[in-house]
């Protein structure tokens, strides 16, 4: 399996969204030019990114939308369903348990974990909440390899350590806390605060003028 550059991977979901728009509009084929306009990206970049799919850009007609979307989903492994665990059932964690957009993108949250006895034993959006103490035995039994962290930042490292010990191979960290894990563990951040930092500062700079 070829290694696709991170920058390309990050843009692929955006192409999928654009393709869905065209599909909803009743189109069957679309040119790279049109995709680039809707995605607000340079055409050369779009062509290069989409070349990883192996789908050909036919002169005059362009890409077959259905085939291209399927090929992107295959590249991202979104056609397959991967089981995952979520740790930290606060506001954000609970919301993610009910976020249907994940299951449409191959991510199935099969268990949630918390240390709050009020939450343990309940079911949130159909996902059972277990004690954090059980994560290791359950992960080994269920063969789960993806862990989602939605605990307060100061607990992120502890949870990450537990996940690694439990055989988790990829960690999706929703806290701003930088976690330290062995180099073979895949870590991705959803860093809302990095994004909020840019938004706040740019607005302050603008309003200072």
């Amino acid at each position: 399996m070829d290694k696709i550059p991170t920058s390309t991977l990050k843009r692929l979901p955006q192409y999928l969204e654009v393709l869905k728009q065209f599909s909803r509009a009743g189109l069957k084929e679309v040119s790279a030019t049109k995709i680039s306009v809707f995605a607000d990206l340079h055409q050369t970049l779009v062509r290069k990114d989409l070349s990883y799919t192996g789908i050909s850009n036919v002169p005059q007609s362009g890409y077959n939308i259905r085939k291209l979307a399927k090929a992107i989903e295959d590249l991202l492994n979104w056609s397959d369903t991967s089981s995952s665990y979520l740790v930290g059932v606060g506001h954000l964690g609970s919301a993610l348990l009910g976020y249907q957009e994940f299951s449409q993108r191959g991510l199935n949250i099969v268990g949630a974990f918390d240390n709050d006895t009020e939450k343990i034993g309940t079911t949130i959006h159909g996902v059972p909440v277990h004690s954090l103490l059980d994560i290791t035995s359950m992960a080994h039994k269920q063969g789960v390899h993806i862990g989602i962290i939605t605990v307060p930042p100061e607990a992120a490292q502890l949870v990450a350590d537990l996940m690694v010990h439990s055989g988790i191979k990829a960690i999706w960290n929703f806290t701003p806390h930088k976690i330290h894990v062995p180099s073979d563990i895949i870590v991705e951040y959803v860093d809302m605060f990095a994004s909020l930092a840019v938004l706040s500062r740019r607005l302050a700079e603008k309003e200072a003028h």
Copy 2:
């Protein structure tokens, strides 16, 4: 007000997290080296980023933690409170209404909007939910300049247009849909799916070996 590079702005919240850790551990001062180890970044980069705060790195002792944290919050305008609106009270939107981490970072969500009559008139985590039809008049009255989009992707552009029409100057878009707005409007994305794309693919590449 000087323009700070985006890459620096994105790292500033991470330094804040690290400083909080040191502060919890009872430290009053910290060296750039120590910060760089905890943030997993190169020391030269850390020094350069932190130079924007104007706080001096004293030989032997390092930075004063309290002063440095305050200076970072000032740079990000997180010491001031900015009012914002959120549009789209689904799972994710509701969760963000209850997310206390935002108010600790200067972002106060003062109103939510939806077009679901079941939700309009209710209060979620203390935030009143209004009809989307009222956003323009309310934004002008309340002088709100920040809008958060948590609707389904296909509705994002419509909501963005409404926000711009309502005098919103900065849009925080939680959908993967690329919105098109006038160039003087600030737009930031929290792109969970870009991050999920990298995570899924890297795991698939790893498991294929």
